[in-house]
Subunit: 555 residues, 2 copies
């Protein structure tokens, strides 16, 4: 039997922001026992994934080793860490472990997919550990922008790994545990093989600001606001939601929660005992019965999501509530790169309604949940690992994080999705390259990233679509003219005649001079008709369109 | 004959950033003589305008009054001010006026569309004026991020209007005229009816930085850079391009220009005498013959445009040049909201190549060309107008600009695209609402914003497409089964059978029980087949797809 090895394999999150999924293994080569850390999702966009509902990590590699998986550990309840549990559980079939709040959210997701709540086990924090095959895994409380975030201590005979999960260093986070320097330092006392560390904010040079600095600013803001106020933030940021609600309460405003995730998150935090001082809330129906200046709406949709409460209020109405001149809308959030267009659209819609919009451009009403560079330095110094492996970040973040580690004399390992790293020796090395990718949840179907489905949709969006129908008789002679239908194309082009007429004429002309063997050969005929259709649209409208050719033969 | 009135009508740029197009009129109501200020474009995106090449203002209102137009005045040579001249000239048919550099660029565009260069007249700066019908128009030099930008003084019997165009207040802009406070103050001495003023940076509270502060920072940066350096900025920012090239020259680096617009802009600036101290450049072929540390590439594509030089270098190669580990790429630019994804993609591609990327996140290597709030205040105080009409900005910018004017005791007028403002009386008022919009240049065809062409493309991108073909015989009986082809849809769904098979079976089942009068009625039959196809895809894959039905009847 071959020697055991300790390995690390990111399947998502390393080379991107979102869709976190990391694998650790220990055992004989290619027969390691495995654990999975996080099963997150990422979100589609019109540029690259039109029509897609959700993006999941491709877990084909894991599925093929289903029997080797001893557990799935979820660090915290953000969608990009827990969002795929319901979608992928069946294919992995291992028990899920998380702390209480995260487990509460995970169970809701499991239930939506018809799985038992028992598939999720609630774990107490460090020093308790879970034994999973050759691993002992402990959940070490760490501060982030959602309650009960945890770094993981992953012990095996191969040595200790510390996996930070997403974090910031906040000694006064409002809700949830403060960052405990001594606790984190204590993890390092017998040496740490590798620190696998959050990297998203590596380019932010300032020290991180505490969540506790936001509440007072919001309170000041509410002190001067007139009319109705709506505030949006990530619903999962319970500390923020609580700060806003308490500030509202002190300003004599009743809080109304709008948006499904806002209600669900507060419910989960209350159920798990994290939130016992949340002001009582009013229903959307009650809002009309209270003077506007006594209302604060706490709403979802800080990223401009089209169907969320913010967007619907900006469209004019949500749950019977309409904002108007003299009201104020507060973004207690930052816009994630790529979401600017949606957020700006909302801002302008409110502007048209006469609603004042206040955002975080002055740096008062939001703080990041991720460690900036000085905090990353602190973490590295506390853990003092043999190697630092940056995770959760785009390539540029991981690369920069490696650079700063190496500048500090710590070995850095740049491992992106699919790079299996062997941590057994003194120097981590790439053991193998695994094929990874994304799985698209498209409607109710899971579609592979490279199946061509989305590529075809993008092509139709860029080029429009032509359907060519042709009927041939028993002698392979065309029965009448070919028939064309277009979608997503201008009605006429250069010839100033209807585009379909020009197409049909050109195709008919071709058929008139086509050889018998072409007419008898479906593949050949289809290819020719497509080529002509594309040539004609290019000449008429300057576009090579997508073409579907349907040839019917009477027999 | 009715009394003459002075009117202002934005057709583009008021309520958006980009696509500037403003109309001024003087004369009897509805028979005013008109002038047009700027004919700009804006750029498509995948979210709302997939496949579109360029977006132009809808000038239907102007075209219907072609004989009333006395001139088209272009303030400066940015695409969002001059980009539509070639596309729309024929429909407006009025002489185009601009200063030398802008005229040079405008003539190139006219030539591309086969128009005479004589259609563009070069105008000397203020105090010279052009007489256009009842108007006298003067080009007043103003600082911006492109040479020879001008504000316009528009005099008529209705009073003086000052139209700033895009501007910043820069007393040391490097290339082109410095902002001249005395000159601008002098325009106001007999009173100004309305100041029509740039608004894009109204939310930037800091004083604007001079272009002249950028060069020294770039020089410092080049002093420490190793390997090959590539720098990108807007090619039209001649001062910046010159600063970079001169810094390179001093650092012992030869400059190579990459990208069509980079070469064209430098050519235009040289032809018009604005640039007589640009270092000599080397060709892309020469780059290979020079040590990497002696090369600086000046490249297009600062906004991540897929086909530009930056994106192609990030993809691996452009004009035979490949960047590699140890090289540096500098964004001497800011990312326009909405372009983040493209820019970030390039950054990560370079990271993968080992190329260091430096951007303006530290605030060193770029300054905005637009007036921040303090500069807007200065302009308003210099001109001291009866009314301030904010232009060039989204609704939120215009609204904020009105607010600060009114807080300063100046009447503010919020006029978005399509709002015709009568400036004749003491209080500007809305005279009429004009239908406005956008015209899409799609391939070689101009498509109206509401023609449904783009809507259909977006639907196909979101929902995929099914073609249903059915042949009926002389007795209206189906000849064989209906035939389905899908594009942009998963191959199978819930039934675990091919989607097309399920579709065909469901459609065939319907035909089996369809009444004769349905089978005889194309419209009815098509509607039913579409409904069934959509119902089936919804059940199978969770999506209601777009459907094209082709019914052929043998007769």
């Amino acid at each position: 039997m071959s020697k055991s090895r300790l390995m690390y394999l990111p399947l998502g999150g390393a080379g991107e922001i979102g869709m976190n999924c990391y694998v650790y293994g220990y055992g004989p080569e290619d027969a390691e026992r495995l654990i999975v850390v996080d099963l997150g999702v990422t979100f589609p966009d019109m540029d690259s994934t039109p029509g897609v509902d959700l993006i999941l990590p491709d877990v084909a590699w894991l599925e093929a080793r289903k029997s080797q998986i001893d557990g799935i550990f979820i660090t915290h309840a953000h969608e990009d860490h827990v969002g795929a549990v319901g979608h992928l559980f069946e294919r992995l079939g291992a028990p899920i472990y998380a702390r209480a709040f995260t487990a509460n959210i995970a169970r809701r997701k499991m239930a939506e997919h018809g799985f038992s709540e028992k598939s999720v086990t609630t774990v107490a924090p460090w020093p308790e550990t879970v034994t999973a095959g050759p691993f002992k895994v402990g959940f070490v409380p760490i501060s982030h922008s959602i309650p009960e975030s945890s770094g993981l201590v992953i012990d095996s005979k191969g040595g200790r790994i510390v996996h930070t999960g997403d974090f910031k260093i906040d000694t006064n986070p409002g809700v949830g545990e403060a960052f405990d320097h001594d606790l984190w330092k204590s993890l390092a006392k017998d040496g740490v093989k590798a620190l696998v560390c959050d990297s998203t904010n590596v380019f932010s040079m300032a020290e991180g600001r505490s969540e506790s600095t936001v509440g007072p600013e919001i309170e000041k803001f509410l002190g001067t606001a007139k009319g109705m106020v709506a505030a949006t933030t990530f619903a999962s940021n319970i500390a923020r939601v609580r700060s806003i609600a308490q500030a509202a309460d002190r300003a004599g405003r009743s809080v109304c929660l709008l948006g499904r995730s806002m209600r669900r998150m507060i419910e989960a935090a209350t159920e798990t005992g994290l939130l016992d001082d949340f002001p009582s809330v009013i229903s959307p129906e009650d809002v009309a019965n209270i003077p506007r200046e006594n209302v604060l709406l706490l709403v979802t949709g800080s990223q401009g999501e089209r169907r969320a409460a913010s967007a619907q209020l900006a469209n004019g109405k949500y749950m019977g509530i309409t904002m108007k001149e003299g009201d104020t809308f507060l973004f207690s959030s930052k816009t994630i790169p790529g979401n600017e267009r949606g957020v700006i659209r909302i801002m302008n819609q409110f502007s048209e309604m006469g609603v004042d919009v206040v955002d975080d451009s002055g740096g008062l009403y939001h703080v990041s949940g991720h460690a900036n560079r000085p905090d990353l330095d602190t973490m590295r110094e506390l853990i003092n690992p043999q190697a630092l492996i940056p995770m959760h970040g785009e390539h540029r973040h991981l690369r920069e994080h490696v650079k700063i580690a190496e500048a500090a004399g710590v070995q850095g390992v740049l491992a992106v999705n699919g790079m299996m790293i062997d941590l057994s020796g003194n120097k981590p090395k790439v053991a193998e390259y695994i094929e990874t990718g994304r799985t698209y949840l498209d409607g109710t179907v899971k579609v592979g990233q490279f199946d061509g489905v989305i590529r075809d949709r993008i092509r139709m969006a860029l080029n429009g679509h032509v359907t060519v129908t042709l009927i041939l008789d028993e002698n392979d002679d065309p029965l009448g003219e070919p028939w064309c239908e277009v979608m997503g194309l201008p009605e006429q082009g250069r010839s100033n005649a209807p585009l379909v007429d020009v197409l049909e004429a050109d195709l008919d002309q071709f058929l008139g001079r086509a050889e018998d063997r072409t007419l008898a050969d479906d593949d050949k005929l289809e290819k020719e008709l497509r080529t002509i259709a594309r040539r004609t649209t290019m000449a008429e409208i300057g576009k090579k369109t997508e073409v579907t050719v349907v040839i019917s033969r009477l027999s």
